[in-house]
C-alpha cells in the first residue's frame, strides 16, 4: 500500500485544509444565517490558533486538553466586543469586525511571546485527520438540528425581516450574541486544529485576505443549509490545486469560475433550503 501512503502524504495538507475550511465556512454560515455580515472569523481563528499553540508550546499541555480550551479565548473576545459591535448593520458591521481583526494582528506583531513576524513554529502535529472531520461532521449535525428547531426558524425570520422577527418576540440581541459566540467556537476550533497540523502559524494567516476568503466560501456555497457553505469551501480549496497545471493563469481561471458560478447561481451552488416544519405550539 505504498502508493496509498504517497497519496495520503501528497494530499494531507489539502485534506486538513478541506476540513478546517469547512469549519470556517460553517462559522461564517451561522452569522449569515441571522443576516449579519460579520467578518470576524479569521480573527477568531487566529485567537484559537495562537492560544492553543501557546498552551502546547509554553505550558506543554496535551492536545485533548488544549482543543476544548482553544474555544475559550475567541468566545471571551466575542462576548467582550459583541455588545457594541452587534448594534451595527451591513457593511458597517463588516468593517468593524475586520478592524478588530487588524487590531489583533497588530498585537501578534508587537508582542514578543507571540513571535512577532516570525510567528510560532514547532507546534506539535497532534491533530489527527479523523478528528478534524469528526468535528466537521459534528458541527454540520448540530447546525442541522438547531436549524430545524424553533431556534432555526427564529434565525431565518431575523435574516428575512428583522422588524417582523422582533414583533414576533424574538430576542434579537440575544440571538445575535449567541450566533457570534457559536461562530467564535467554530473558528477557534478550526484555528487550533489547523495550528496543530501544520507546525507553524504567523500573523498574516489571520488578516483581511483570509477574512474575505472565508466569506467567499459561504457565499459561493449558499446559506440554505449547513451543507452548502461546506461545499463552497471545498470547491474553493480544491480549485487552485486542480488548476495547478495551468501555471500562471490558474488564479485567472480561479476567479473566472467564481464569476460564472455566481452569475448563473446567485443563491449559491446549493440553493436548496433545509426543510423547516412548523409545529404548532412551539413558538420561538
Amino acid at each position: 500500500m505504498a502508493w496509498f501512503d504517497d497519496l495520503l502524504f501528497t494530499y494531507q495538507n489539502l485534506a486538513v485544509a478541506l476540513g478546517v475550511n469547512g469549519l470556517l465556512a460553517l462559522s461564517m454560515y451561522v452569522v449569515l444565517a441571522v443576516g449579519q455580515l460579520s467578518l470576524g472569523q479569521a480573527a477568531f481563528m487566529g485567537l484559537g490558533a495562537y492560544s492553543s499553540a501557546l498552551m502546547s508550546l509554553q505550558l506543554g499541555w496535551p492536545f485533548w486538553a488544549v482543543l476544548p480550551l482553544s474555544c475559550v479565548v475567541p468566545v471571551l473576545f466575542a462576548l467582550a466586543v459583541g455588545g457594541p459591535t452587534l448594534r451595527l448593520n451591513g457593511v458597517y458591521l463588516a468593517i468593524a469586525t475586520i478592524g478588530l481583526g487588524e487590531v489583533l494582528r497588530g498585537v501578534y506583531l508587537n508582542v514578543d511571546v507571540l513571535g512577532g513576524a516570525m510567528g510560532l513554529s514547532g507546534i506539535p502535529e497532534a491533530a489527527p485527520l479523523w478528528l478534524i472531520y469528526a468535528m466537521l461532521a459534528l458541527a454540520v449535525l448540530v447546525l442541522w438540528q438547531v436549524g430545524k428547531s424553533g431556534i432555526g426558524r427564529a434565525m431565518e425570520a431575523m435574516r428575512l425581516d428583522e422588524t417582523a422577527a422582533l414583533s414576533m418576540g424574538v430576542n434579537i440581541r440575544r440571538y445575535r450574541l449567541a450566533t457570534l459566540c457559536a461562530s467564535a467556537v467554530l473558528a477557534g476550533l478550526a484555528g487550533a486544529l489547523s495550528a496543530h497540523s501544520t507546525d507553524f502559524i504567523g500573523p498574516n494567516d489571520f488578516g483581511f485576505e483570509p477574512a474575505v476568503t472565508i466569506l467567499s466560501f459561504a457565499l459561493l456555497g449558499g446559506i440554505g443549509s449547513p451543507f452548502a457553505p461546506v461545499l463552497g469551501a471545498w470547491l474553493l480549496t480544491l480549485l487552485p490545486e486542480v488548476l495547478r497545471p495551468l501555471a500562471d493563469v490558474r488564479l485567472v481561471m480561479n476567479g473566472a469560475v467564481i464569476v460564472v458560478a455566481v452569475l448563473f447561481l446567485p443563491r449559491g451552488l446549493l440553493a436548496w433550503r433545509m426543510p423547516r416544519h412548523v409545529r404548532p405550539g412551539r413558538a420561538a
Binding site: 502524504f9 513576524a117 495547478r244
Partner: protein, 373 residues
Amino acid sequence: MLKRRTLAAAALAALLLPMAASAADPVPLGAVEVLTGPTAAYGTAAKAGLDLALEAINGKGVLGGRKLSLTVEDSAGTKDGAINAMRKLIGRDKVVALIGPTLSNEMFAAGPVANARGIPTIGTSTTANGITDIGPFIFRTAMPEADVIPVTMRKAAARGAKTIALMYANDDAFSKSGFEVMQKAAATAGLQIVATESFASKDTDFSAQLTKIKALKPDAIGISALVEPVSGVLLQARQLGFGAETQFVGGNGSNSPKLAAIAGAAAEGMLVGSPWFVAKPDAANQAFVAAFQSKYGKAPDQFAAQAYDTLFILAEAIDRAGEADPAKIRDALTKTEHTGALGPFRFGENRSPAATEGVVVLELHDGAFRIAP
C-alpha cells in the same frame, strides 16, 4: 458501475505507482518557487537560473548519462501553497531532492514536511535566521544575513559613520530577522543606534518615520525589507531632504537590480553586502552572466545566480552519491565542493554556506552596483 470503478482504481494506481526506476530514467528533482502573486518576481528570477543550469547539466547528464528532470511548482507566495507544492512533488513526482521555497516564511512552513520525509531540500534565497535549524535535511546556498550584514556595517563604520537609525518591515519574517542581525552588527561595528522604526511590507508612505529620523541626524540609515518597500523608503527620504551625507545601508532584500530600476537616482550611494555581484570578474561568473544574457535578454540578479549554482551543486552531489537516493544525496551534499558563479562553495557544519570571505560590499553608483570603494 463496478467495472468502471475498478477501471478508475486501476488508472489511479497506474498514475501513482512508482515505476521501477531504470538506469536510463531521468532523476526526478523538484523546485518550489513563487511564480504568481505579488512576490512572483523573486521566484521567476530563481526559475530562470534553474532552467539555464538544467540545460547545461543535461548536456552530459549525471550518474553516467541520466538526465535530470526538474518539476517547478508554484507556491503563489503562500504558506499553504508552498506546503501543497512540496507534498505534491514528494508524494506524486517522487523527487529525490528539492530546491526552494523562495521565501523564508514559506520555508518555515514547508521545510518540516520535506525534512520529516527525509528529502534533502536546498533554499537558494532563504536568508532568515534559523532556516537550517528546521532539521538535518534542510540546506541553503543562500548566505544568511548574519554572515553578510556585519561586513556591510563594518564598511559603513569605516566610511566614518558613528550613529545609525534602523528601519524594517515588521510583518515579514525575513525583514524582521534581518533587522535583528542589523541591530547586533551595528553595535559590533561600533555604531550607535539612535532610532528604530518599523513599517508594513505593503506600505507606500514612510514619511512619519523618516521625518522623525531626520530630526536625529544619524550618519547612516539601515533598512531591512524586500526591495519594493526599500525603494519606497529611499524615494521618500530624498523628498524629505536626505542627501548624500546620509549613508543608506541595505540587507539582502536591497541586493537586486530592481533597486535602481524602481528608486532610480534616489538609491545612489546605498551600500549592500552580497555573496555575488554581476560584474565579478572570474571566468565561471562571466560565463554564467553571458549565458543568462543570451537566453533571457537581460542581466541576472542574485536570485538567479544562487539558483543556478544550486542546481550544479545538487547535480554534483547526485554524482557523488552514486545513485538517486535522498539519504545518500543528503550525505553527499555535505561533502560537495563546487566552483560556480558565486565562487568556491561548500556547506558548513550547519548546512549553510561555509565560507563568508566571498562577501563583497557593493555600492549603487550611476544606476548599477559596483564594489564599494
